[in-house]
């Protein structure tokens, strides 16, 4: 032992070098600090605020369950939450169903310039999200691309009104917007599949369909599960899409949360709604992961 190790600084330094967790946390510390300041502290404030009540401009900071009781009692909150879950559920299913064939094609049938294909698939992400929503407004609109061309072809007499300002419009827009988030994880899990397993299945007499159901699909499920969570979790709380293309019947829970913080000026209610949404999404996701895990274990 050298002299320096006897000083406090030296001892700390030695501890730092010896202890792996400490070195790990030191490496993480910038991120941890940001997480603490940007996530944990606001989250605690949000939880505290959700038990307060609003009186015109003042917060009443005595803790009460008023906001949560209201969420349970008033059908509006329940219906908007259910609608949000239904819309993003539909969007998740649609996105995964549309993304799977694309990812499958690139993983199994493209042999040269795979990278170019992947980049092309993420092309929608190169433009601003807001621009894409407005593009859908133009496509789905009353005088939009779909209605105008169908009417021009004489297939329609009156424009289809359910296309825009409806839950359908929200599902379509979200599905397009989140496609890349589904394609990439599914592609990765398909790409990883050992090709010799497929050959073995063929040698043992499986046709293409049986081989897909017996080998490819189960092995690619981790990608599908990751993709569904990646899409479901953020879309439940999407605000801008329903605000722009949803219309009165396509409004989602995030729109209601926004007005609590703005026009209605009831921040505690907004906080309680945000937390309720968070808890429900977490519960659904955990349930989904648990079921998926059981399912994939059976498959093996």
């Amino acid at each position: 032992m050298t002299q320096t190790h006897d000083t406090l600084r030296g001892r700390l330094y030695a501890f730092f070098l010896r202890s792996e967790p400490v070195r790990g946390f030191a490496l993480l510390s910038p991120t941890l600090l940001i997480m603490l300041a940007g996530m944990c502290v606001p989250f605690v404030i949000l939880v505290a605020m959700s038990f307060w009540t609003q009186h015109v401009f003042e917060f009443d900071t005595t803790l009460s369950l008023t906001n949560y009781n209201e969420i349970v009692d008033k059908p509006m909150y329940r219906v908007l939450l259910t609608r949000s879950l239904a819309i993003s559920g539909a969007c998740t299913v649609a996105t995964v169903l549309l993304a799977y064939p694309m990812a499958y094609y690139v993983a199994f049938h493209v042999h040269r310039h795979k990278m170019v294909w992947i980049v092309l698939m993420t092309l929608p992400f190169w433009s601003s999200y807001l621009l894409r929503v407005f593009a859908w407004k133009i496509i789905l609109g009353y005088n939009g691309a779909i209605n105008a061309s169908f009417m021009g072809l004489g297939w329609l007499e009156k424009p289809l009104e359910f296309l825009l300002y409806s839950p359908t419009a929200v599902v379509i827009t979200l599905t397009h917007a989140w496609a890349a988030f589904a394609i990439l994880p599914i592609y990765v899990s398909l790409e990883k599949i050992d090709r010799s397993l497929l050959e073995a299945a063929t040698d043992l007499g499986d046709g293409p369909v049986k081989r897909f159901i017996g080998v490819t699909l189960p092995l690619s499920l981790p990608g599908v599960i990751a993709a569904s969570l990646l899409i479901f979790i953020p879309t439940v709380g999407d605000f801008v899409t329903p605000a722009l293309v949803g219309g009165p019947d396509g409004a989602m829970i995030a729109n209601l949360i926004q007005v609590q913080f703005a026009r209605v000026n009831n921040w505690p209610m907004g906080a309680a709604l945000s937390l309720a949404m968070m808890v429900i999404i977490a519960a659904i996701s955990l349930l989904y992961i648990w079921t998926a895990r059981r399912f994939t274990e059976y498959g093996r």
Binding site: F57, V79, G141, Y142, P248, A251
Partner: protein, 380 residues
């Protein structure tokens, strides 16, 4: 002292080509370029969209245009910074949340509420060169003057009424009325403003309830019931007048609740619309400028306000937008025929009295109204 790596781009390409530039020097230069790129926005504020030294004007969407600031631009070289809100209530909530601006643009109905929030400061009237030309009747609205200080500079006045397509909406000989927005023949073709600050009031007029009586429980329920009845007919609730105008232009909507500017704008595009004069009376209001108590730039704040009440701005606002203006001299710049065409008069009292003039409401009621309207829009 010039270090080894301090070389010009010309030198660099020469030396790269001749191979006399070391790898280490090249990497140092690359790092320098990277830092320069990251630092650019910090180093040259003029490259940013919002110049920090201009005042900030927090206003309704549609008023955030340089045309309203000709005198200000002449003086300071460019327009103020703009920030927009979708309604007075939203604007106030943002300010209460700690957002600091120089000047904001509320309307008379919420003025006492804004002043009571303690977020405003009175003007230094000597810095407003156009103040003496402001129509006197508009200077003494409830809430404008508080403890001897003037907190509100009236700027624009106008109406909330119905813009409808003459060719698509069949009145069947009936008079124009607020009932047009409740007409079941046009279910799914009606547009309404998403803020209770307009819509609740218009429904109150339609219900035949006097504004002084609107806070009673009975009348609250009456108006809420009317709005619920309207909900299935509405295709679009929005704070964005452009969305309403586009939907009217395409024929998606046949009638919509709008402000004066929409019919003027649509007529300019040759869309066959009319600006209704409902038999129950249109909703009338006065909006104007207030100054934040912590305005970072009080001098520019006064310049923004002075610009808003200038004749230049007034002429633009009247001729292009169809709103009334608070500067009495603005009207001299617009011909009598044009005024008649726009449905405006020189005397605001005439127009404000002909319609239903918004009055300030107590805070309890405002909160209740806003909450209820959100619920109605959601379908409950």
């Amino acid at each position: 002292m010039k270090r080894k790596t301090d070389i010009s781009p010309q030198e660099m390409t020469d030396r790269l080509q001749s191979g006399t530039l070391s790898r280490r020097q090249f990497q140092q230069m690359l790092a320098g370029a990277g830092i320069a790129m990251v630092a650019t926005p910090v180093l040259s504020p003029s490259a940013l969209a919002a110049p920090a030294d201009q005042g900030t004007y927090f206003t309704w969407g549609g008023y955030d245009i340089p045309e309203l600031f000709a005198p200000y631009i002449e003086q300071h070289g460019e327009a103020p910074n703009f920030a927009a809100f979708g309604g007075s209530e939203e604007g106030l909530t943002k300010l209460m949340g700690g957002y600091v601006v120089d000047v904001a643009h509320p309307c008379n109905a919420v003025l006492p509420r804004w002043v009571a929030s303690g977020l405003l400061q009175p003007f230094d009237l000597s810095q407003l060169s156009n103040w003496d030309d402001v129509i006197p009747a508009l200077k003494n609205l409830e809430g404008s003057v508080h403890d001897g200080g003037t907190y509100f500079a009236p700027m624009d006045w106008g109406q909330t009424s119905i813009t409808y397509r003459e060719d698509l909406f069949d009145l069947q000989g009936a008079e124009e009325s607020w009932g047009m927005l409740w007409d079941e023949r046009y279910a799914g073709q009606i547009g309404v403003i998403a803020s209770a600050g307009d819509t609740w009031w218009c429904a109150t007029i339609f219900a035949g309830v006097d504004f002084t009586e609107m806070t009673t429980d009975e009348n609250f329920d009456k108006v809420a019931a009317l709005l619920r009845q309207q909900r299935p007919l509405v295709r679009l609730y929005t704070d964005d007048v452009t969305t309403l105008e586009q939907a009217l232009a395409s024929g998606e909507l046949v009638a919509a609740m709008t402000w004066n500017s929409s019919p003027v704008d649509l007529k300019r595009q040759d869309v066959p619309v009319r600006w209704a004069n409902p038999k129950e009376g249109a909703l009338t209001w006065v909006c104007g400028a207030v100054m934040h108590k912590d305005a970072p730039n009080p001098e520019r704040a006064h310049d923004i306000i002075d610009s808003l009440i200038s004749v230049d701005t007034g002429r633009f606002l009247i001729d292009e937008y169809g709103y009334g203006h608070s500067n009495s001299k603005s009207f001299d710049e617009v011909s009598e025929e044009r005024l008649a065409e726009l449905g405006l008069t020189r005397n605001p009292s005439e127009m404000l009295d002909a319609g239903k003039f918004q009055i300030p409401l107590d805070e309890e009621f405002t909160s209740r109204m806003n909450g209820e309207f959100e619920q109605i829009k959601a379908g409950f």
